[in-house]
C-alpha cells in the first residue's frame, strides 16, 4: 500500500444505504490523547506562575482567584469522573487561547498560556454532557503584556481563535465529497482510454494515456483516506511488498507505469489495466455512500503537500514516467480545492490566509515554470527554488489543520 496519509480514523467508506442522509460519526475517536502529565511539579515550567484550576461541571474554573497577565501555567484538575476537554477563552468572542483535550477523571495536566489584559473564562466540556462555562475573570494589564509580539490577540495575549466544530465542517466536507463525485466520471473515462490502449498493445498510446488518468486521481488527495483499501490498489507503490515491482500486490497506476516505461509489452499489462479500470469503477459506485470524516479536509490541506514533498519531489513514486512535477501540480490543485471549501471558516480565523494563497500561487507558478522534466533532471538552483516554494507553503498550511481540528463549543 502506498498509503501515505496519516489517517487517524477508522475506514470511513461505508457501503450503507440511504446515501442522501449523511450521518456524522463522532470524530473524537481519531484524536490522539496526550500522555497524562506525571504531576504539576514536574511540568517543566518551574519559573512560571502556576494556578490550580478545577475542571468539572460543578466547579468549572474554580481556583482562579488571582488573575495576572503574561506567560503562566494553569494546572487543570479534573475533579470529576468523566474525561473532559477544557478551554480558556474570551467569553465575549468565544476565541480559545488554550486547550486541554481528554483530561481524564482525577487527572491534573498543565496548560501553558500567555494572557493579555482582558476577560477570560474556562469552559469545561465533559464527555457526553453539555459544556459549562466558568466565571468570567478580568485580567489586569501589566508587565506580562510585553511579550506577546506577533500574537493574534489584543493586549499582549497569545493567539486565539474560535474553535471549528463538526457542524461547521459538514458543509465544506459535503461540498468536497460532491466535488470528488463530479471528478470520478472523468477519472473512469481516462482510465478506460488507458485500458483500451493497453488492450490493443499500443505502448506509445498507453504511455500517453497514463499521465492524464493518473493526474485525475492525484487531484483527489483530500479523499484518499475515505477511499480505504481501494487507494492502495489504485495508486500503491512497492512499499511493504516483499517482491518489489514483481510482487503480485503491486497494482494500479504505478504498476502500469513501471511496465510501460520498462519495456513490458502493453499486452502483458492487460490484467493490471483491467483491475485498475474495475477499481476506479468500484470507487465511483461506492462514493455516493461514502462519508468523509469532517476532520479530514483541514488535515489534508497540509498533508497533501507534505506527501508531495516526501514522495514526488524526491522521486520516490517515480516508476519511470518522470512525471513527478505534473503530479505535484495535481496535488496543488487538490490542495487549492480543499482550501477553497474551507475558506468561509478560515477567513475569520486566519488573518494569514492571503499569505497562504500567495504561497500556493507562487508554488504553482514555480512548478509550471519548470515544465515536464523529471525531478532528477532539475539543476541545483531549480531544485532549491522548488523545495523552498514547497517548504514555505507547507509551513504556512500547517496551522490550517490545527485550526480546523474538530472541537466542541457546547
Amino acid at each position: 500500500m502506498r498509503r501515505r496519509w496519516v489517517f487517524g480514523g477508522a475506514l470511513a467508506l461505508l457501503a450503507c444505504a440511504g446515501a442522501g442522509a449523511v450521518g456524522w460519526e463522532q470524530a473524537g475517536s481519531g484524536h490522539p490523547l496526550t500522555a497524562p502529565s506525571s504531576g504539576t511539579s514536574a511540568d517543566g515550567y518551574p519559573g512560571l506562575p502556576h494556578t490550580s484550576v478545577q475542571i468539572s461541571p460543578g466547579g468549572c474554573g474554580a481556583g482562579w482567584d488571582r488573575p495576572q497577565p503574561g506567560l503562566q501555567v494553569f494546572d487543570l484538575h479534573n475533579t470529576g469522573v468523566a474525561p473532559e476537554d477544557a478551554y480558556v477563552e474570551d467569553p465575549a468572542t468565544g476565541r480559545v487561547l488554550g486547550e486541554i483535550e481528554g483530561l481524564a477523571g482525577g487527572a491534573v495536566r498543565p496548560m501553558l498560556v500567555r494572557l493579555g489584559a482582558g476577560s477570560y473564562a474556562f469552559q469545561c466540556l465533559p464527555q457526553d454532557t453539555d459544556a459549562v462555562t466558568g466565571p468570567t475573570v478580568r485580567v489586569p494589564g501589566g508587565a506580562g503584556g510585553s511579550g506577546g509580539a506577533g500574537s493574534g490577540s489584543a493586549g499582549g495575549g497569545g493567539p486565539a481563535v474560535v474553535p471549528v466544530t463538526q457542524q461547521d465542517l459538514i458543509p465544506p466536507t459535503l461540498a468536497y465529497q460532491k466535488w470528488v463525485g463530479a471528478q470520478l466520471p472523468g477519472l473512469v473515462s481516462a482510465v478506460d482510454v488507458l485500458r483500451a490502449a493497453v488492450g490493443r498493445g499500443d505502448s506509445a498510446a498507453a504511455r500517453a494515456a497514463w499521465l492524464p488518468a493518473h493526474l485525475d486521481y492525484e487531484r483527489l488527495g483530500a479523499a484518499y483516506g475515505t477511499f480505504g483499501d481501494l487507494d492502495g490498489s489504485i495508486s500503491g507503490t512497492t512499499k511493504g511488498l516483499p517482491g518489489g515491482t514483481s510482487d503480485p500486490g503491486f497494482t494500479g497506476f504505478h504498476r502500469l507505469e513501471f511496465g510501460l516505461w520498462h519495456g513490458e509489452s502493453a499486452a502483458s499489462l492487460g490484467p493490471v489495466a483491467d483491475r485498475l479500470a474495475a477499481d476506479v469503477r468500484t470507487l465511483q459506485s461506492r462514493w455516493a455512500a461514502a462519508r468523509m470524516n469532517p476532520k479530514d479536509l483541514g488535515l489534508r490541506a497540509h498533508e497533501i503537500v507534505e506527501n508531495t514533498i516526501q514522495f514526488e519531489l524526491t522521486g520516490r513514486t517515480d516508476y519511470g514516467s518522470g512525471s513527478g512535477l505534473a503530479t505535484a501540480q495535481a496535488n496543488l490543485q487538490g490542495t487549492a480545492e480543499a482550501l477553497d471549501l474551507l475558506r468561509p471558516l478560515l477567513r475569520t480565523r486566519m488573518p494569514e490566509l492571503p499569505q497562504i494563497d500567495a504561497a500556493l500561487a507562487a508554488t504553482t507558478r514555480e512548478v509550471a515554470g519548470l515544465g515536464g522534466v523529471p525531478v532528477s533532471g532539475l539543476t541545483l538552483g531549480q531544485q532549491e527554488a522548488l523545495n523552498a516554494a514547497f517548504g514555505d507553503l507547507v509551513t504556512r498550511l500547517a496551522p490550517v489543520a490545527a485550526v480546523c481540528d474538530v472541537r466542541r463549543t457546547s
Binding site: G98, G158, V161, A388, V394, T395, P399, A401
Partner: protein, 426 residues
Amino acid sequence: MTGLGSGVDRRSVLRGALAVGAVGATATGAAADPAATATATATATATATVAPASTDASAGGGFPFHGVHQSGVLTPKQRCVSLVAFDVTAADRAGLSALMRTLTERLRFLTEGGVPEPLGITAPPSDSGVLGPVVPDDVLTVAVAAGSSLFDARFGLAALKPRRLRPMEAFADDDLDPAWCQGDLLLQVEAANADRVAHALRDVAAHTRGAMQVRWRIDGFSSPPRPAGTPRNLLGFRDGTANPDVSDARAMDQVVWVCAGQGEPAWATGGSYLAVRLIRMLVEFWDRVSLNEQERMFGRQKNSGAPLDGRSESDAPRYSADPAGDVIPMDSHMRLANPRTAGSDALRMLRRGFNYDRGTDGNGNLDMGLLFCSFQQDLDRQFVAVQKRLAGEPLVDYVTPFGGGYFFVLPGVRDATDWLGRGLLG
C-alpha cells in the same frame, strides 16, 4: 573537575575580550602592516587557548548573544558542531533582509533560551520540544557567515563584497566536489550536546524554509583533551597548538577581526574571514604508517604534541638549531605552515577545526576527517599564504580535501534592535 566556576570565568574573560575588541577596532589602522603585526604578536603564547568547553558548561553558562562580534569565533570550541551551508532562495533584497531578521530573532531566542510561545489551538507547537518544555540557556553558539555568491547580482550587494571574498580555489592537492563547496550563507552551530544543535537547526529550518535551502551540511565534534592539552584530530595528533591567545584583544585585532582602515567595506568591521575545508582523512591508510613517519610528517611527537626537538606541547621549535631539518623535517606540516621566521607571524590565524565521522564510504572504508575552520582578518595574507606553503607536503597522501569554501563572518548583533547583516542590508 572544573566545576561551574570555570564556565563563569571563561564567560567573563570572553566578555572582556569582546568589549576590548570594540575599542581596539578603532585604533588598529596601523596594524594593517604585517611587520607591525609580527612584532606585536611575536610574544604571543604558544599555549592553545581555544580549548573545548567542559561538558559542564551549562547552568546559565551560555555566551551573550549581543556583542561587537558573533560568538563561535573566540568562544571555546564546543563538543558538537554542525556546519550548514545554505543558498538563499528569497527573491530579492527585501526577502534577504527579512530572512536575516528572522534568523537573528530565532538565534537570539535559541541562544538565550526561554519558554517557547504557546500558540494554543491556532497552530502546531512553536517548538519541537526536543529540549523539553523550556529551551535552556546553556552554551549554544551560531556563527553566521556569508559566501561570495551572496554578493552576486541577485541582491545588489556586489559593491559591498568583502575585498578578499571569492569562491574557494582548488589547491594543488584538492579533490573538490562542487556539491560540498560554497553556499550563500554558512551557519556554524555549536553546543555541548548534539540535541541542542539538532534543536537549533530544526527551529531555524522551520522559520526559514522559503527563504533559504540547505546546500550541504556536515556534523562534527571536538574531542576532549587526551589526556591533556590541545584536542587531537583523527590522525591522533593535537590540532590547534600554537593558536594565538583569544583573550588577547590586541592580538585578535591583528589576527582575527577585520578592522577599520584595512580597505574593507565599512560594514565588514568586526567581522572575520572564515576558511572552511572539509578534509577526508584516510585513517586506515594512516594507521598502517610507522610512528616515525607519522611524526616526521607533522614535525611533532604524537603522544605529547611537543615539537620533535622539544619536551612539551608548549615548547617552541628551535629551527635555527636545525637549519637542515635533521630533527624537524623542512617539509613537515608544522615547519611549512609556520617557519617562525621574521614576518611569519603575519601568517598566523585562529584555527578552530572539528573532527567528523560519518560512517563509511561505498567501499566500506571508514569515512572520517577534519572540518578545518580558520578565522582571519585577511584571507590571502593568512590562510591562502599558509595553504600555498603546504602544497605537496608529505601529509597530502593521507588526506583529501573535498569541500568547503570561503565565508565572511558577519559582525555581531549589538543589541535587541540590531540584526545580522544590518550594516550590509539596512
